[in-house]
């Protein structure tokens, strides 16, 4: 009772009692007279409002920072920012806690103990830059330029990591994308010649499979999806082993058997072709391979698909008819993260092919081509190194890898095997493979292969935790960033930039300044001999008004064409048409049309582990955010009620989850919102770094459990192929 927090100040007490007494005597009713004692009209806050773009996920939503005395008080949405429909989500609002996180990296740190032991020495920047340059030079001399790996996350400064790697001479650059979306991109690229942007807003029928758009926020799709179903009469069908929020708000939801989506899609194609529900003229003019596809999908009857995916055959037939009736304003939603199975490129090809049959390309409510933004690249002539490797370390191991993204998992295996050559240096910027790549033990092994690892980040991520040199970078609200062009389908094609909202905290520096410093020490200074402002001018040379407009509105819009971009234009495919049948795949010995292979049966007494996204979680970067952590204080294992009953597991019980590669403990969340054969948990928890106070030792690390299979076409991780056993931990 005598807790000091609960005492009332004397001043408040006297103030209150005095006023109350006065009011009581004068007023007709007890204390009623006090209504006169209203607070004076509220004064507007004395804040400066500055534009920026969010960086709490990849979407880059326009924001207005409210700044008072050099401190950010609030981040608000920029109402003029059409791509996000003028919103800022929970993460966007919590950006404040990322900037002011007490766990932020403050000074350059040099490892003192063993890797991962957490012993650090603060060193001055000059020394840090010298050391980074010297170690990179050593690696290059000893192992050729390709002996150094560079990894950069989704960030407006990441292009400078790529530039540095190129002028340094290394082909080995990986991004986060091979742990996320490259197989989906491959599939659509190899069908349409480019990666589409769905016109969700104007669609009348959307089948959402392998995506969860109301929880995994993508702008403008997530917001437009709600407008479409609530105001535009769009029908939404969701296929998901979990009853997600998207599923709950859908017109129909089916708990599809994980890994069987392709059977469903090919059955849709079977019905659409069999019943001639397509637009023959469009198919004839715009697509290649209907005859082959007709033959190919004969075997994939709705009955066959029903057996595979657990969705009744008559519903599959009905959905095919409904889709076709709504076409071309109908779509199979392409999705974003497609790192799920070893044939995920072919799975998404089946999505792309159904869209092809719907004739929705480049038309309202369908899949749209990229719009003109107007930004230009800034070129440079990289030096040539004779003493170098022939190719990337992950080259030729999968047939259709994206050169500029690489495959992190193939790279990691190659580094471990030193095949075809050793990699001994690693530079990492704002990506956290130790926390996001499946099979964490292998990433630790990879670290142990390195002579020297430099990590630039704002926080001591698990990747930084195992590095030699850790350099504190500026947050997105402290930096000057190059321009970025954004595609917003029907909403916009636009450009954003960032300028410092507040003075840089601690000793943090921008990645650009760090690269410039290191390059200067390595005789590569000429490639970084400019300022970001000068760089932006070059980027916007064809839209010179853009910089000024961004200063005024926080965003520049290019009023470019939305529909009909492909009128009179050929598709960038071998047949110059939409490829239902992919001739290039045929030449390469790949299935030219997706061939369904049933997913491996879940072994007895085991579960398939699937991952998914939450609107308040961005991988490992948000768990240590105080505001966001309050929404998801820990992760739990979703376990079906019936399955839990058989195992004697009650809601909230501590369980051990083990796979072929690792084991973790966390609490069970017993629920009817997941299939009996499937379990699920959020990613980003149980970090190794003790400098991530809220995630260290909290919950379970999903990447410690996931095995490291990958898509055989692109090398994209396949994160839904792991089976686990679940047992109750006896206290």
């Amino acid at each position: 009772m005598s807790n000091s927090k609960q005492t009332m100040s004397r001043r408040d007490f006297f103030k209150a009692s005095g006023l109350v007494a006065a009011g009581a005597v004068g007023g007709p009713a007890l204390l009623g007279g006090l209504k006169k004692a209203q607070a004076a009209p509220m004064a507007a806050p004395a804040w400066d409002s500055k534009f920026s773009a969010c960086d709490m996920c990849f979407n880059k939503c326009g924001l207005i920072a409210r700044v008072e005395d050099g401190i950010i008080k609030k981040l608000d949405p920029n109402p003029k920012f059409l791509k996000s429909r003028g919103m800022l989500c929970a993460r966007g609002n919590a950006g404040l806690d990322q900037v002011y996180d007490p766990d932020r990296l403050k000074h350059p740190l040099l490892r003192k103990g063993a890797r991962g032991e957490g012993k650090w020495q603060r060193i001055p920047w000059d020394e840090a830059i010298d050391m980074a340059a010297q170690k990179m030079e050593e690696v290059r001399k000893k192992y050729t330029p390709c002996g150094h790996l560079f990894s950069a996350g989704t960030d407006l400064h990441s292009k400078f990591v790529g530039r540095f790697a190129e002028v340094y001479g290394s082909f080995n650059v990986t991004s986060h994308e091979s742990l996320c979306l490259v197989s989906g991109n491959r599939a659509f690229l190899d069908t349409y010649g480019e990666v589409p942007f769905p016109d969700v807003l104007n669609s009348k029928y959307i089948i959402m499979a392998g995506a969860n758009r109301f929880e995994a926020l993508v702008t403008p799709d997530s917001i437009d999806l709600m407008t479409a179903i609530r105001e535009n009469g769009c029908k939404l069908v969701t296929l998901d082993p979990r009853y997600t929020k998207t599923a709950a708000l859908s017109d129909e939801w089916y708990p599809i058997r994980p890994g069987s989506d392709m059977a469903f899609m090919l059955a849709l194609a079977h019905v659409i072709i069999g019943e001639k529900l397509y637009n023959p003229q469009w198919i004839e003019e715009k697509t290649y391979g209907l005859d082959q596809l007709t033959e190919h999908v004969k075997q994939y009857t709705p009955g066959f698909a029903a057996e595979q995916c657990g969705i009744p055959a008559e519903d599959i037939t009905r959905m095919a008819r409904e889709l076709a009736a709504a076409a071309p304003a109908a779509m199979i939603y392409p999705g974003r993260r497609t790192s799920d199975y070893e044939d995920s490129t072919q799975i998404r090809r089946s999505f792309a092919i159904v869209n092809g049959l719907l004739g929705n390309w480049d038309r309202p409510g369908g899949l749209l081509a990229a719009r003109q933004v107007g930004l230009k690249g800034v070129s440079y002539d990289a030096p040539w190194y004779d003493e170098n490797q022939e190719d990337r370390i992950d080259a030729h191991k999968v047939p259709m890898m994206f050169e500029h993204e690489g495959s992190f998992l193939v790279t990691r295996d190659s580094v471990l095997a030193e095949d075809p050559y050793p990699i001994k240096g690693w530079f990492v910027y704002k990506t956290n493979p130790m926390g996001t790549a499946p099979n964490r033990k292998k990433t630790i092994e990879m670290m142990n292969k390195m002579d020297f690892v430099t990590v630039v980040d704002i926080a001591m991520s698990d990747t930084a935790w195992f590095a030699d040199l850790v350099l504190p970078s500026q947050s997105y609200l402290e930096r000057t960033d190059p321009c970025a062009g954004l595609q917003g389908s029907v909403a916009c094609a636009c450009v954003v930039k960032r300028d410092p909202i507040i003075k840089s905290l601690y000793e943090s520096r921008s990645l650009f300044d760090i690269m410039k410093g290191v390059a200067g020490k390595m005789d590569l200074g000429e490639y970084f001999d400019f300022t970001i402002e000068e760089f932006r001018k070059k980027q916007t040379r064809e839209i010179p008004e853009a910089l000024e407009v961004m200063d005024r509105d926080g965003v520049y819009y290019n009023p470019s064409k939305v529909y009909g971009i492909y009128e009179g234009r050929i598709y960038k495919t071998l047949s110059k048409k939409v490829e239902l049948y992919n001739q290039r795949y045929e030449q390469m010995g790949l299935d030219p049309m997706p061939v369904y292979t049933p997913p491996t049966k879940v072994p007895k007494n085991q579960f398939r582990l699937v991952l998914g996204r939450d609107a308040a979680v961005t991988q490992t970067s948000t768990i240590n955010n105080k505001l966001l952590n309050e929404l998801n204080p820990t992760n739990t294992l979703w376990l079906n009620i019936e399955a839990a009953g058989k195992l004697g597991i009650a809601d909230g019980d501590l369980v051990e989850v083990s796979s072929s590669v690792g084991r973790q403990e966390l609490k069970a969340e017993v629920t009817d919102r997941i299939r009996k054969d499937t379990v699920y948990m959020l990613s980003g928890y149980n970090t190794l770094s003790t400098m991530q106070t809220l995630s260290h030792g909290n919950g379970a690390s999903i990447n410690e459990l996931l095995d490291d299979d990958y898509d055989t076409i692109t090398g994209n991780a396949s994160m839904h192929t792991t089976f686990v056993t679940v047992t109750r931990k006896v206290a």
């Binding site: 006023l19 709600m226 929020k245 708000l249």
Partner: protein, 246 residues
């Protein structure tokens, strides 16, 4: 006609992203573990192949009621219904942090701010409105499920929605009918969670007495009252229950 500031909410549009929840926390510096607003989910049973009629996420906060039981429970007049705007306001200068108002709100919209040691709840972000921008939760909402404004003003977005949908407007019922000014378009989602308002016995006794007596009681008993209130607040839940019989 006087104003009635209110929210008109389309719960069917809410995707439970919690943007409003975090926006509110930051805008109002709400301490860790405390909240001025919320989203309440319906716990529906998933049925494959069928549209769920019950799945809804219900955004909520202080409902600025027409019959605010929190005002009744406040011993100092710190909480009052503003006649001009229809808001239920807390005058922090008068609030003694006694906590009487907390169980008096059947929607649990009030809490004692751990830092300020005063009653706290949604106030529609007056400093933001003074700056010409909407309350934080409304401003940030991705699907614009929350619409704020004067429902008596047909020109306002809230007023327009209010009028247009009059036939299907719903409110979240509580066991004590406080006549909330938070309106939902059609099905609000979870509907029966509002409890009974619990007003301390001492306040009820005083309300029944003649005005003069009340004045005297107020003058002489104020210190005692304040202390009592404080005790009630810092006491356990069972303290509240004893008073609820009155």
């Amino acid at each position: 006609m006087a104003q009635q500031l209110a929210m008109v909410i389309d719960a069917a549009k809410c995707i439970d992203c919690k943007g409003c929840v975090v926006a509110c926390k930051v805008a109002n510096e709400v301490p860790e573990g405390q909240w001025r607003n919320w989203i309440k989910p319906t716990s529906d049973t998933p049925v494959p192949g069928k549209k769920s009629d019950t799945a809804r996420f219900q955004p909520g906060a202080c409902m600025h009621c027409d019959n605010p039981t929190c005002v009744e429970a406040c011993p100092t007049g710190a909480t009052y219904k503003d006649k001009e705007t229809g808001e239920v306001v807390i005058n922090e200068g008068l609030c003694i942090g006694c906590g009487n108002c907390i169980p008096a709100c059947p929607y649990d919209a009030r809490f004692r701010n751990e830092v300020k040691r005063k009653a706290d709840k949604c106030n529609y972000c007056p400093e933001r409105r003074a700056a010409g921008i909407p309350p934080a939760c409304v401003d940030t909402c991705p699907t614009k499920a929350r619409v704020f404004g004067d429902i008596n003003d047909p020109e306002s977005e809230a007023g327009r929605l209010f009028r247009k949908n009059k036939a299907r407007l719903t409110r979240v019922a509580a066991k004590t009918d406080t006549k909330p000014n938070m309106y939902y378009l059609g099905n609000p989602g979870p509907g029966e969670w509002g409890r009974e308002a619990i007003i301390p016995a001492s306040m009820v006794v005083m309300k029944q007495s003649a005005p003069l007596v009340k004045g005297i009681v107020a003058l002489s008993g104020l210190g005692v009252l304040a202390m009592l209130g404080r005790q009630l607040f810092v006491g356990s839940d069972s303290d509240h229950k004893e008073d609820s019989d009155a």
